[in-house]
Each structure stands twice: as C-alpha cells, then as structure tokens.
C-alpha cells in the first residue's frame, strides 16, 4: 500500500513538476509570478481534446494542444506583463490573477461549462513491478516528464539561448550590452514554460478522462506551491518540490484522510517554509 501510494504520488508529482517548471522559469527570469500557469495548462488540454474530436489524430491533437498553450502563454506575456515591466512586481501579480480569471471565464464561454471526456479510450494495461501496480498511462506520464525535464536541462545548460536566459536572469541590462534581445528571451521563457504546462494539461486530461474550464486552478496552485517548496527560481527545486508535493498528498490521503487530500499539499508547503523559508533548493538571499 505504501509503495503503491508513493508511486501514484510520483505520477501526479510529475505533472505538478511540469507546471512548476513554468512558474519557476518565469519567476527566475522575469521576477514575476504568472498565476495563469494553470489556465495555460487547461487550454492545452482543450486544444488537444477538441482537435482529437474533430480529426481523430492523436499526434496532431497533442501538437495543437501544446501550440495553443504556447500561443496563450506568449499573448499573456505581451498583454498582461510586458506593459507593466519596470513597475512594482505587485502590479504584475494582480495582472496575473486577473489574466487567470479572464482565461478560465473565456474558456467557459468558448468551450462551455460542461466536462468533456477524452475522445479516445486508452486501453489500460497494468504492469506489476515488485508488488506495485503501474498502468501504461502512468508510465507514459513518468516517461514524458523525464524526457521533458532532461530536454529543459539541456536547453538551459548547453545552448546559446539557455546561456542568454541565465544572463538575463542575473542582469538584464548587462545582457543587453552583450547584444541579447531581452524581449525575445522573455518570450522564449514563456514559450517553454507554456509548452510544459500544455503537455501536463493534456496528460491529465487523458489520465482523469475529463476536461473542464477550471481544471487548471487546483493543479496551478499546487504547482505554484511546489515551485515555492523547492525554491522558486530553481529548476531542480521545481522537480524536487513537485515530486515531494505529489507524494505527500497521496500518502496523506491514504494514511490520514482522503477528504483532506488537497490540504496536505499546502500543509507540506507551510511546514517546509517554516523550516527553510527559501525553499528546499532555494538560495538563501
């Protein structure tokens, strides 16, 4: 039972991680909290579900879903954040909350308030490893997350764009003097963060077999907590935070009370922050 619940926690933790990476990168590079990350996730899910309903082509649907998330994310940066650059970060925060509400209401308007199941059914095979059951969808979630985290690691640490991102994060004005286009770097950051959230949304739409306008709210909040838990701005922190949160909430639900499942995530957050205010991997500033 313990290992089974831990595994389920890891699966959900992978999804939190993907969304948390968006939070943490945007914070690390632009210094703002993009509270609409969960809505970007929801749009990814809708993009995929609707395209799949129309075409029946899964690969295409996934690509459309990710692209929709990217478009929403980049537009958000242009409309809700760019005009506020250089002002008090609190103003950006309010703008982000507004954008988040706008995006989920517009989703209700465009897609309707009802839940939509995922259009194709995944025949679920169960595999058994050392007494722990794991479904093929769970394997896909873990595998896709590992792949994306590795990809992100390579982009950030071993490409010219990644080096530019770090430079902008450390000192945007000095980065400009190097000839780095800071606007483009911000856009690229939003693009990557949105793509990761989009994938997460699509994976969860399949996993829970449902898509609805507010589906991003709770995962968005938890991913934000995961990012803070790990140390916001830190990429390894988002991974550690996401997994910790996923496992903590599943074990809490299994051993203490399933009714308080969502509360355990935030309890874990509060506990860690009391002990280590900068988060698990956060730098002490």
């Amino acid at each position: 039972m313990f290992w089974q619940q831990a595994l389920n926690g890891v699966v959900i933790g992978c999804v939190y991680t993907l969304v948390a990476l968006g939070y943490t990168m945007v914070y690390g590079i632009l210094g703002i909290i993009n509270f609409a990350q969960g809505e970007i996730y929801m749009y990814g899910a809708y993009g995929a579900v609707i395209t799949l309903g129309l075409t029946g082509n899964l690969t295409l649907s996934v690509l459309v879903g990710i692209s929709l998330s990217c478009v929403v994310g980049v537009l958000l940066e242009r409309v809700a954040f760019k005009p506020l650059r250089g002002l008090n970060p609190l103003i950006s925060l309010i703008s982000a909350i507004g954008a988040s509400i706008f995006l989920s209401s517009s989703a209700r308007f465009i897609f309707g308030p009802d839940e939509r199941p995922f259009p194709i059914h995944f025949a679920s095979h169960m595999y058994n490893f050392l007494g722990v059951d794991i479904s093929d969808m769970q394997l896909i979630i873990i595998g896709a997350s590992l792949l994306l985290i590795t990809l992100l690691y390579v982009i950030v640490n071993h490409t010219k764009n990644g080096r530019a991102m770090k430079a902008v994060a450390m000192d945007a004005e000095a980065a400009m003097l190097m000839g780095i286009d800071v606007d483009k770097t911000y856009m690229f950051t939003f693009l990557i963060g949105s793509a990761l959230s989009g994938v997460a949304g699509i994976l969860m739409a399949i996993y829970y077999n449902t898509t609805y306008p507010t589906m991003g709210t709770l995962p968005g909040l938890k991913a934000f907590s995961a990012a803070v838990l790990g140390g916001v701005g830190s990429i390894p922190g988002a991974v550690v935070g996401g997994l910790t949160l996923g496992v903590a909430e599943n074990l809490g639900a299994a051993y203490i009370s399933s009714g308080f499942k969502d509360a355990f995530a935030f309890l874990a957050l509060v506990l860690v922050l009391v002990i280590r205010p900068s988060g698990i991997m956060g730098s002490k500033r």
């Binding site: 450390m170 000192d171 003097l177 190097m178 000839g179």
Partner: protein, 242 residues
C-alpha cells in the same frame, strides 16, 4: 568615427544630459571626466542604446545609431564595459566570454578569440571553469573587458574600469587598455572620475558637469589647465602614467 551631437537624455523628469556633443576619431583614446552624478555613465548608456535619448543624434561612421537597438549597436562594432563590471556571477568565466560573443556566428573564430583573451589576461585562463562571482575585483574587471572584446569591437566604451581597485591592479588594467589601443587599434572612450589618471592615458578629454560639457581639449592642454588642476587633480598632482 563617433559623433554625438546635442544629446538630451532624461530619466523620468531628471534631465541627465543637457545637450552633450563629442566626437572621436578612429583609434583615438578619449577621456570623459567628471564628478559623481555628472552624467558620464548616461553618455555611454545613450551610445550603447540601453538608455533612450530624447533628442540629439549619435552617428557611427556616418550611420545614425541614435534609436538603434543595443544588439544592433554591438553588431556595428561598439562594446560597452559597464560601471561596476556587471559580470554574470553565477556563470563560469568561459560562459561570460561566450556571452560577449553572443551576436557572432563564426564559431571557430569565437573559439580562437577565447584563447586570445586568455593570453591577453592570463588570470582568466587559470580560472576559466570557475564562477565569475568568485574572482577578485581586478580579475572581474579583466573579465569584463575581455567579455567586451569578444564582440570584436572597433570602439570600446569603458566606464570607470579601475573603480575600487588597488593601485597596482589599476596600473595593470591601464597597461592593458594602452596595449589594446596601440597594438590592436581599438578606439576607446573611457569614463573616469580621476582626471590625472585619465589624462595620462588619453589623447583628448572632455570635462562634464551636471549634464554639460564644460571643457574639452588635448590631454596635454587639459593637464595644464588651472581649472582642472584645482577641480580634479588635487594639490599633490604628479605625472604618474607615462
């Protein structure tokens, strides 16, 4: 090569530059001297495009670069080494140098330039895998200059390159700057609070006070000027940089 004419720059309501005009010939070393808050850094920032000027013009080899983006200005051969060094502390020395070459695509030449920079500043070779933030002040300044050179500029804008450094280290930096000008033919616009040091190095100088050029001339003339001796050289004025 560089012509700045009647430049006005504001920070919100602060009128930082009130009609600055200056010019530089190729391969010239020009000093911009003035006290704290005079507007020296703002002149450099206006040239490199990170601060937008309200009116006036800046031309480089005849091309108007007044409202051109910083990256285009880097590509046209101007490199700005900012006040306070501004190296990227949590990146390695090597990554800092690579960022200096961000606008270039000739990767094999970039590699060679990295090696040249490490020859020019041997301390950087020893520390190339270390975080730039762990270097000493003098080493950071050398890195900042080397990083600035990585874009292969013809004009280097140097903002108080020896601020806060021990005199021996400062002397070493000035030796390098002179070498870059004499042997590499680099034009240098250097900002200094210390007129004695700057005029020892420069061909010509401009004195700036509260956003205006109040005096200009050959370095030797300026050194003779009583006004400067009183205001910037101090009573114990000696010629040390020869």
């Amino acid at each position: 090569m560089l012509v700045v004419s009647n430049l006005h720059t504001y920070y919100g309501r602060i009128h930082a530059l009130k009609g600055i005009s200056l010019h530089m010939k190729p391969m010239e070393v020009v000093a911009l001297i003035g006290g704290n808050g005079a507007g020296k850094s703002t002149v450099l920032k206006s040239i490199s495009g990170i601060v937008r000027s309200a009116s006036g013009s800046i031309t480089l080899n005849g091309d108007d670069i007044t409202h051109v983006s910083p990256e285009k200005i880097v590509m046209s051969g101007v490199s700005h080494v900012p006040e306070g060094r501004r190296i990227f502390p949590r990146l390695t020395v090597e990554d800092n140098l690579l960022l200096g070459a961000f606008t270039r695509k000739d990767y094999s030449e970039i590699k060679k330039d990295m090696a040249r920079m490490q020859e020019l500043f041997p301390v950087l070779a020893k520390r190339r895998k270390q975080y730039a933030g762990n270097l000493s002040g003098g080493e950071q300044q050398m890195l900042a200059i080397a990083r600035g050179l990585m874009s292969r500029p013809m004009l280097l804008l140097l903002d108080e390159p020896t601020m806060g450094l021990a005199p021996v280290v400062a002397k070493d930096i000035y030796r390098q700057i002179r070498y870059l000008n004499k042997e590499r033919g680099l034009g240098i616009l250097i900002v200094e609070q210390n007129a004695r040091v700057a005029l020892g190095l420069a061909d010509r100088g401009y004195i700036i006070e509260t956003g205006r050029i109040v005096l200009e001339g050959n370095a030797s003339e300026l050194r003779q000027s009583n006004e400067i001796k009183r205001a910037y050289l101090g009573k114990d004025y000696r010629e040390v940089w020869e």
